[in-house]
């Protein structure tokens, strides 16, 4: 039928049995990388600490050639990733054309087993985990390669790759685990690696603070995850995915308090990991880490774990319309809220951080309204274009840093006000980042167009579902989501214009040292750019495929991802349809998907064009001259709505104050005071009675008589 028919037919699932190929090795390779790099890291750290103790600083790059500790990781780090990626691909293609309605489970050993509980160290291969594995190992490989260039001159080079490999191991465990506890191992493990990598340059107080904040805020989410597991265990007697998802529709009542509680607790966990309101505050601070880390952990993979969790538990969410509406609401409000903050940030990574929070909000909206495939779809495309944006910003910062370093100018290398006109120096970075910007803005035919459009459309379509009790609410979500999309187009354009266009503001002598990144960094950018263009084609929405947007049916993989994920999400979809009725084919205010797709892409493109013209002509002051915005909405947005300050005032300080009070008053005065009082009282009475032990017989006789009198008196009266 089309040009791509052979490809299309290959991608359909069939009847054959899926025999995974060395799935455990996919996990083991990054772990091996961690061990080897970790060993090198300790070796090199021993050298650096020796130098420090002798009073000097250590420079591993003094000697030529570089020491093995700083060359081998370039092989090991990306090498194990390549191996894992190839294995993931083999398994992915092996799974195609096979019957995947039951996940393939490999159980390695019995992890925690008691009389009533059985948790295996088991992994599960199914459509969802296979997609996630591809994204993690694929994008991860590119970022590892990029890091070889980016981190080249860092003394902590081997340690960096050790942490990065360990992260991939835990991230794979998170998506491959066949039960909630194994997933939780990955869940907290990636949090640990995030902590270690945010605080990678740990000598800097601010950076290690940021790592600590990320860990503690995430633990608030983990608390929800833990409790959800407890509820699930009491309801099902197991924590394995398969029996829970199969049994849930029968064992849990639709809309019951129990299932709503479980789903909302999982949402708390997801909000922590995926930086949603109210737990998003750690992610912007997490930008303290090296930029490739932000790309891998804080954009492409770890922060999407919450979306994965909801998709993985789709049946539970589908059973609770309240929880669904909450997930979607949290998502869309976060999307809009973070977008407003991004409007007024000057740090290029902060813009991208809030953008990530905002895009994750879209994914939550998607999985919240029951469009699990759309949510996962946006997760995949976002991994491409946001990783690209972060790596691109890394290339920019890298270049800025070198330029400023050359003349010892102590300007902020990440502040966009100090940039401008970088297009001239970094054409590849410029071009690839524009592709990503168009993708995130939702301009056709870039990847983000298809995925974002499908989410927004799903919100609108479910708003009009026959018997959706929250139809009105979904309509609001739909409007908010459209608004946030326009903001996205604006702040991204602003970022691109401030960074790459106009006059260069870095300074004349500095500008001479601005340069394009080396090949090892630009190649990953280019590959990601290709993916940001074509990545959306894996799931062209059905209604669009026959229209102009689907090139009138010529795009090959219409609804492919949706079909691929069908085994994982079909029962959730059935539950939702059963209770909410069929979805509408009209948006809340009329119009079909094609029309709204046209409206949104035209609007997005218009915002990009208009704002780039408007901003392009504006003159920007460099950071030292500009200072902070002092009035109006700009100041509030620049200060991120003062949420950090609010949390500090209402949570952090009270807990600290209470802790001090517990120590200084309850523990020291009340409890220990009582203990010491008893001891002293005993001693006092002992001392008092010792006063009577004078050895004088007449005193004893007197006391004896007195006592006798008292007894007599008591007896008489």
């Amino acid at each position: 039928m089309t040009l791509f028919e052979p490809l299309t037919s290959m991608l359909q699932s069939g009847e054959a049995h899926f025999e995974p190929f060395l799935p455990g090795l996919i996990l083991l390779l990054p772990l091996l990388g961690f061990v080897l790099n970790g060993f090198l890291a300790l070796r090199s750290a021993a050298g650096s600490s020796r130098a420090l103790r002798e009073g000097g600083e250590w420079d591993p790059f003094k000697t030529e050639p570089r020491p093995a500790t700083h060359t081998l990781p370039s092989l090991i780090g990306p090498g194990v990733m390549l191996g894992a990626f190839v294995l993931a691909l083999i398994n992915f293609f092996g799974a195609m054309g096979a019957d995947l309605h039951d996940p393939v489970i490999r159980s390695y050993w019995s992890w925690i087993a008691t009389d009533t509980l059985q948790i295996d160290a088991a992994i599960q291969l199914d459509p969802l985990s296979l997609v996630m594995m591809l994204v993690i190992t694929g994008v991860g490989l590119l970022i590892h390669v990029f890091s070889v260039g980016y981190m080249r001159d860092d003394p902590g080079y081997p340690r960096y790759f050790a942490y990065l490999n360990l992260f991939v191991f835990f991230m794979l465990a998170l998506v491959m685990g066949a039960n909630y506890p194994v997933m939780f191992v990955g869940w907290e493990g990636v949090g640990l690696c995030s902590y270690l990598l945010i605080g990678f340059w740990f000598s800097d107080r601010e950076k290690s603070d940021a790592g600590k904040k990320a860990f503690i805020v995430n633990r608030i989410g983990d608390f929800g995850f833990l409790l959800a597991m407890f509820y699930l265990f009491t309801a099902f007697g197991t924590l394995d995915f398969q029996p829970i998802m199969e049994g849930a529709p029968d064992q849990l009542t639709y809309g019951s308090g129990l299932v709503t509680t479980i789903a909302l607790l999982f949402l708390l966990g997801a909000a922590g990991k995926s930086a949603q309101i109210p737990l998003y505050v750690w992610l912007p601070d997490a930008m303290a880490g090296p930029t490739p880390v932000s790309a891998l952990i804080h954009a492409a993979t770890m922060v999407t774990a919450g979306v994965y969790l909801v998709a993985r538990s789709s049946v539970l969410f589908a059973l609770s319309p309240v929880a669904q509406a909450t997930v979607a609401g949290v998502g869309v409000v976060t999307a809009l809220f973070a977008a407003t903050i991004a409007l007024k940030q000057y740090d290029i990574k902060k813009v991208l951080a809030y953008s990530t929070v905002s895009q994750l909000g879209y994914m939550f909206l998607g999985v919240g309204v029951g469009a699990y495939a759309a949510g996962v779809f946006h997760l995949v495309t976002h991994a491409f274009f946001k990783a690209l944006l972060f790596l691109g910003s890394g290339a920019v910062i890298h270049s800025m840093h070198h330029a400023l370093h050359h003349t010892h100018k102590d300007w902020d290398a990440q502040d966009m006000r100090n940039m401008g006109g970088l297009r001239r120096f970094m054409p590849i970075t410029w071009a690839t980042m524009w592709i990503a910007t168009l993708a995130i803005a939702g301009v056709w035919p870039f990847a983000g167009f298809f995925s974002k459009d499908e989410i927004i459309w799903a919100a609108g379509a479910w708003a009009g579902a026959e018997s959706n009790p929250y139809g009105g609410l979904y309509t609001v979500y739909w409007v908010l989501a459209l608004t946030a999309a326009l903001l996205t187009a604006f702040y991204m354009t602003r970022m691109m214009v401030m960074t790459f266009h106009g006059q260069n503001r870095t300074g004349e002598s500095e500008a001479e040292h601005l340069h394009e990144a080396p090949r090892v960094m630009t190649v990953p950018l280019m590959i990601l750019a290709v993916l940001s263009v074509f990545g959306g084609w894996i799931n062209v929405p059905e209604d669009l495929s026959a229209s102009f947007f689907g090139l009138f049916g010529a795009l090959p993989m219409s609804e492919w991802l949706h079909h691929w994920l069908e085994p994982v999400i079909h029962s959730a979809a059935e539950i939702q349809t059963e209770h909410m009725g069929e979805i509408s084919h009209h948006a809340p205010f009329g119009g079909g998907e094609v029309m709204w797709a046209a409206v949104s892409t035209v609007l997005a493109l218009a915002v990009v064009l208009v704002s780039s013209r408007a901003l392009g002509g504006r003159s920007v002051k460099v950071a030292v001259e500009d200072g902070e915005p002092t009035a109006g909405l700009g100041r509030i947005l620049y200060n991120k709505w003062y949420v950090d300050e609010l949390y500090d005032r209402i949570i952090v300080q009270p807990v600290l104050g209470l802790s001090r009070w517990c120590w200084r008053f309850v523990d020291s005065v009340l409890i220990d005071g009582t203990v010491n009082f008893v001891a002293n009282f005993t001693r006092l009475t002992g001392w008092l009675s010792s006063l009577f032990q004078t050895g004088q017989v007449n005193l004893y006789a007197f006391v004896l008589a007195l006592g006798a009198l008292l007894v007599l008196g008591a007896a008489v009266f």
């Binding site: 890291a41 300790l42 750290a45 021993a46 650096s48 600490s49 420090l52 103790r53 009073g55 050993w109 019995s110 992890w111 925690i112 087993a113 008691t114 009389d115 009533t116 509980l117 160290a121 506890p181 939780f184 191992v185 869940w187 907290e188 493990g189 640990l192 902590y195 605080g199 740990f202 000598s203 800097d204 107080r205 290690s208 603070d209 790592g211 600590k212 860990f215 503690i216 633990r219 983990d222 608390f223 833990l226 409790l227 597991m229 407890f230 509820y231 265990f233 009491t234 807990v655 600290l656 209470l658 802790s659 517990c662 120590w663 309850v666 523990d667 409890i671 220990d672 203990v675 001891a679």
Partner: protein, 526 residues
Amino acid sequence: MTDFLLSIGYESWILHALIWGPLVAMIHVLASPEDRAKHIAFRWSLALLAVSLGLWWAFDPGSGGFTMTSSRPWISAWGVDYALGVDGISLFMILLTTFTTPIAILGSFEYIGKREKAFYALMLLLEMGVVGVFAATDVFLFYVFFELTLVPMYFIVGIWGGERRVYAAVKFFLYTALGSLLMLVAILYLYFQAGASSFSIAALLDAPLTLQEQLWLFAAFAIAFAIKVPVFPLHTWLPDAHVEAPTPGSVVLAAVLLKMGTYGFLRFLLPLFPEAAQHPTVVTVMMVLGVVGIIYAAWVAAVQPDAKKLVAYTSVAHMGFVVIGIFALTVNGIQGGLVVMISHGISTGALFLLLGMMYERRHTRLIEDFGGIGRVAPLFATAFVITALASIGLPGTSGFVGEFLALLGTFETHPTVAILASTGVIFAAYYMLPMVQRVLFNKLDKEENRSFADLSRREIWILAPLLALMIWIGTNPSPFLERMGPSVERVIERVQLSSQEARLEGIELPGPAAEPNPTPARTGGQ
């Protein structure tokens, strides 16, 4: 392995060897020259560890009762027996003791600078006492060993401790002695109530008691053990003792001495007084104290300027998980509690060793005196971070398995308690990470810290087995769980069965309480 052990009659002599071995070692140490003392003590403790490891294979969980039992009359006039045995609960406590002792001894090589002979002799005496506590199946014998542990610890803190060592040692001694006196009274009452001809646990289980008697006796035992654990608000002796104790003292105190309290809960409180242990008021009180301990101690820990005091308070928080796990009376709760006991012994022991190493290098325990240590001592920092993570229960480490099971088991019967206690995972990060940051990270801005030496070979040998165990138990706790399982189930059965009986017979236990055997009671009271 098992066959080999059987062929050498391992089962019949191992427990005796582990009790009397330390005593022989102690005599050897005392008879040796001062400068040889530590090496002799270390070798003996290592040999005892090696011998005790056979328990891992020789122990057969069976139906959960005592195995390797042996008994001979000791004070036959009172029916006191020298009776030993081991079950799935005490097995790991004994192994934890024999495992911790050589590590603590090796950890004192640099720290202990005076009167070494006496010190190592006392450490071995302590080992004897603790093993005795866990191996005794006769309540009187248990009590003797329980008291015996007080003496060496008192001297270890009082002689080799810090500035306020005498205050701390006396507080420790009086506090615990007070508790055990209450227990002694209760034991004697129980003995006469049972019409007793024997102090063995099995005999005392049959003591006919009214609910009211049970509650009183429960209270007496519970206070004794709760001081040891320690349960909030009876915990204030612990931070003082820890801060003043020398490193090896802290290690043994945290790793095994505290466990005698929770072990007592499991071994005596639940089986001896099942009615009381299930009484709603009692359960509520214990649960509330456990939860308060978890949260309150975490908060207090978070604001401590002294690193050692911080870790001491975290012990109270950790033991809170054990307390709620035990009184939840579920298999998962109690097994979780046991794993927390093991895990806490390993990770907190390791933390105290690390803090001791810091003290040896810098002669300060204040967190603010450090900073940037990660740059000069990478191995030390790595060990510190792994230990801290195990302590706050990161999945994949031993701490997680224990806390997860304890909370899950608690949730099964007391969801509200488990929900409140689960906030402990947040507060654990809140107390531990700032300390890690302020010690290892941040700027290396103090000149003295530049010369902070990394781990020596000896120190690596001390820490490596502890770190390996944290990961091993975290990733594969099944061999542990399956060995303790039957004994835990047996405890629960005993408690639930007796309450069923009581219910069948109409709540009022047919107690000859009104007219107990009055004669022995009077004489015994003297």
